[in-house]
């Protein structure tokens, strides 16, 4: 019922409603407490007997105390409604929250990718040595296509690679001196990019 009322009223009437509730509840609390304190005053015997007057005062105080509690409860409900309205409609703070969250997520993503890139650069060297070792050992099944060969073919489909011939010359050299590793390293770094970004 409350939700439908929110949807059908404009925001001005809604906020006027909030104002009215606030003023009424505060007024109710103050008035009821004042009346309780006034009723607590002991007076001389009036029209009715003391017992009846006491009973009446007791009942009146009970009702006024209940009124104070009800007004307090209504104020709590008002605060809850204000919180809800604030979360939904306070655009400056919602925008700020969204921007902050986006910033945090993007920085986390950049850090992750930076670390992956540096890992790729480190491993490229070791991976080249491992491949050399594997394909020159007796374990290698000669019908298998070597990984370097597969990547080279993919590269040559994409763009004619001038370093193809130099890499082939290096591969035939089993020792693999460090000076000849720099050329294929560029090749491998390019391959490394392709392999990590594929999934």
């Amino acid at each position: 019922m409350t939700t439908q009322r929110v949807l059908s009223q404009s925001k001005e009437t809604l906020l006027q409603n909030y104002n009215k509730r606030l003023k009424d509840d505060i007024k109710s609390i103050l008035d009821n407490l004042t009346e309780i304190v006034k009723t607590a005053k002991i007076e001389d015997e009036t029209q009715v007997s003391r017992a009846t007057q006491a009973e009446q005062d007791h009942y009146e105080m009970h009702v006024r105390a209940a009124n104070i509690v009800r007004a307090g409860e209504s104020l709590m409900k008002l605060v809850s409604d204000l919180k809800q309205f604030l979360i939904l409609n306070d655009f400056p703070s919602v925008n700020e929250a969204i921007n902050l969250q986006n910033q945090q997520l993007r920085s986390l993503q950049e850090e992750c990718d930076k670390k992956l890139t540096s890992l790729r650069d480190e491993i490229a060297v070791d991976l080249y040595e491992l491949e050399e070792e594997y394909y020159s050992s007796s374990q290698w099944d000669s019908t298998d296509l070597p990984l370097c060969e597969a990547y080279r073919r993919q590269d040559s489909w994409a763009s004619p690679d001038s370093s193809c011939s130099s890499t082939q010359g290096d591969r035939e050299d089993m020792d693999g001196p460090p000076s000849q590793e720099t050329n294929p390293q560029h090749h491998l770094n390019g391959h490394g990019t392709a392999s990590i970004e594929k999934p």
Binding site: L86, S93, I98, C112, D113, L116, L130
Partner: protein, 121 residues
């Protein structure tokens, strides 16, 4: 990351509770045979200041909302950044899995080599 205004409203809720607490203490004190006047005065002053604070805070929040609110829903989201971050974490996980496989393969090779050497000697 809670908003300042939301935090202020939380404090207001606690303030309302203290208002009711003060009112209860006043009535309790009045019910005694010999009410302590100074205690009553203190409670009354506290009650009045709390009520004033509650009223001021809530009316300032309502005033701010009259200036800021429109009837339109907000359509921003963090979905794209969150998805990008999720994919980056997936990439890292995948790289970890692949490196694990590579490590295991190297270890298997080394064990085979060692076994062969032992058989030869």
């Amino acid at each position: 990351m809670a908003n300042d205004r939301l935090r202020a409203l939380e404090d207001t809720e606690k303030e309302i509770a203290s208002v009711l607490q003060c009112a209860g203490n006043i009535v309790l004190e009045l019910s005694k045979d010999k009410p302590n006047a100074s205690f009553l005065d203190r409670q009354l002053v506290q009650f009045q200041s709390s009520v004033n604070r509650v009223e001021n805070e809530l009316s300032s929040q309502i005033r701010y909302l009259t200036q800021v609110a429109t009837g339109q829903p907000h359509e921003g989201s963090t979905y794209s950044a969150r998805k990008d971050c999720q994919m980056a974490l997936n990439r890292a996980e995948y790289a970890k899995v692949k490196l694990g496989e590579l490590g295991r393969t190297c270890e298997v090779m080394l064990e085979q080599q060692q076994q062969q050497q032992q058989q030869q000697t």
